[in-house]
């Protein structure tokens, strides 16, 4: 059952900010693909809601725009929009890859990028891709506009740094300065509406066989989407070789165990994650080598 609530179709951001400021138990709704089934199954996460503020009619919230040094995606852009956007495809293909595997076509027609991480579910599939692209969120309240990296926004399961009077307005992806190559991997139960069991995103940049930058993030394997920065740092400046990739995969496995404590699913998940990270690194490396050869 959907609980009784007040509902407002907002048509500008100012109204949204004012309403959020005046009502402690207000929640912004866009696609609704998390909140509405949550209501239906009586989820404790949405019990307190008294007012829903619908932002679907506000154009500013769902436009995708090129800026000088970044691509700015409105927080209520839905996944179909993102998949079809030429600039996201051109500059941030792993995000397209990740979101085109979320839910079903019907879900992607409604579910939004902001909604995917705002509830900070461990299985939010856009998160690993956004993390390796160093996504920064623009957040507004009636008092200020601020920016915060997604990695600092996600606190713990179902908890973020968002205050009740704030709304995430945009997701900004800084352009990468050339020669990065990457991959996204998702393992779910079946095609279609699978909630993801493992998702991984890897991005690498090298010059003369040396790793200049590498970014590795996982979703659904840790309590929240996580960048493995310690291991990334360990890899930087070293030769891109199988031994290093094996070592990195091994260490990531250890870190996942630390973060999760042993869970029943680890026994099955861990070797898969390690093997997959190793494979992704190898594949990216090989592809980069062949691209370089073609260019010479």
């Amino acid at each position: 059952m959907i609980p009784e609530h007040k509902f407002i179709n907002a048509d500008n951001i100012e109204d949204v900010l004012r309403l959020l400021n005046e009502n402690d138990n207000a929640k912004v709704i866009a696609g609704g693909t998390d909140i509405i089934p949550g209501f239906h199954i009586d989820s404790a996460r949405f019990k307190e809601i008294e007012l829903l503020i619908d932002i679907n009619k506000i154009k500013d919230f769902n436009s995708i725009e090129l800026a000088d040094n970044h691509l700015s995606i409105g927080a209520s852009s839905n996944f179909t929009q993102i998949i079809n956007d030429p600039n996201v495809n051109k500059y941030f293909p792993l995000l397209v890859n990740a979101v085109s595997q979320i839910g079903s076509h019907q879900i992607r027609n409604r579910a939004t990028i902001g909604g995917n991480f705002i509830n900070n579910a461990p299985c939010a599939d856009s998160v690993p891709a956004l993390l390796i692209y160093n996504a920064v969120l623009e957040i507004k309240s009636i008092i200020e506009t601020k920016e915060i990296p997604l990695s600092e926004f996600l606190l713990k399961q179902y908890q973020t740094a968002l205050n009740t009077n704030e709304v995430v307005t945009r997701v900004k992806l800084p352009f990468l300065n050339e020669n990065y190559s990457g991959k996204f991997y998702k393992l779910g139960r079946r095609r279609g509406v699978a909630i993801s069991r493992i998702s991984l995103a890897v991005l690498m940049k090298k010059s003369n066989g040396i790793i200049e930058d590498v970014r590795i993030a996982g979703g659904a394997v840790t309590p929240i989407g996580t960048r493995f920065t310690k291991i990334e740092d360990m890899m930087k400046g070293k030769a891109a070789k199988s031994d290093l990739f094996k070592e990195a995969a091994q260490k990531i496995g250890e870190q996942i165990l630390e973060l999760t404590g042993l869970r029943w699913s680890s026994i099955y998940k861990l070797p898969v994650v390690q093997q997959k990270i190793y494979q992704l690194l190898e594949e990216i490396n090989l592809e980069m080598n062949s691209v370089n050869k073609n260019e010479n």
Binding site: K6, G32, T33, G103, I107, R110, R191
Partner: protein, 156 residues
């Protein structure tokens, strides 16, 4: 709350409760029983309708959210008593057994063929991946969509 929207090409108004979802509104207030409720949580696709031309689960939309929207249900895809070619082909290809998934399947296929008149098998599978069928095993459904695509292209 009072809302205005377009339902199967007609402008309508409705008084809706905050506790109502779009599927409740369609079935209970407008007596459009073609739209089915299976899982209620966005996993089965039996409740699929078109909202502004896009296939959407009507169990995942609040009635309040459709102000100004264009909604088309399975009843609006047929032309009165005249079935849409996709529906005809579902019957011909044996893509209907119990029929519970059919309205949703047809709506998903309809959106696909609108946007992509020449889908390959992968694209068809992807378009109906959010529609579960417990009876047919999907093959006949995919065939029905393929035949419909050809037929609709030829008729243009």
């Amino acid at each position: 709350m009072k809302i205005k929207f377009t339902l199967n090409k007609k402008k309508v108004t409705a008084e809706v409760e905050s506790t109502e979802r779009l599927i409740d509104l369609l079935r209970n207030k407008f007596q459009l029983m073609g739209t089915k409720e299976g899982c209620s949580i966005g996993e089965c696709g039996a409740c699929t309708i078109l909202m502004d031309g896009k296939a959407v689960n009507s169990c995942l939309v609040l009635a309040e959210q459709i102000e100004g929207a264009e909604i088309i249900t399975i009843e609006g895809i047929a032309d009165g008593e005249q079935l849409h070619p996709i529906q005809e082909n579902f019957i011909k290809a044996g893509a209907i057994q119990c029929g519970f998934c059919t309205p949703g399947m047809v709506v998903s296929s309809y959106e696909l063929l609108n946007e992509n008149p020449e889908p390959n098998e992968e694209e068809i599978k992807e378009a109906i991946a959010g529609n579960l069928c417990r009876c047919t095993g999907y093959k006949q459904i995919i065939d029905a969509v393929k035949i419909s695509a050809e037929q609709l292209r030829d008729s243009k």
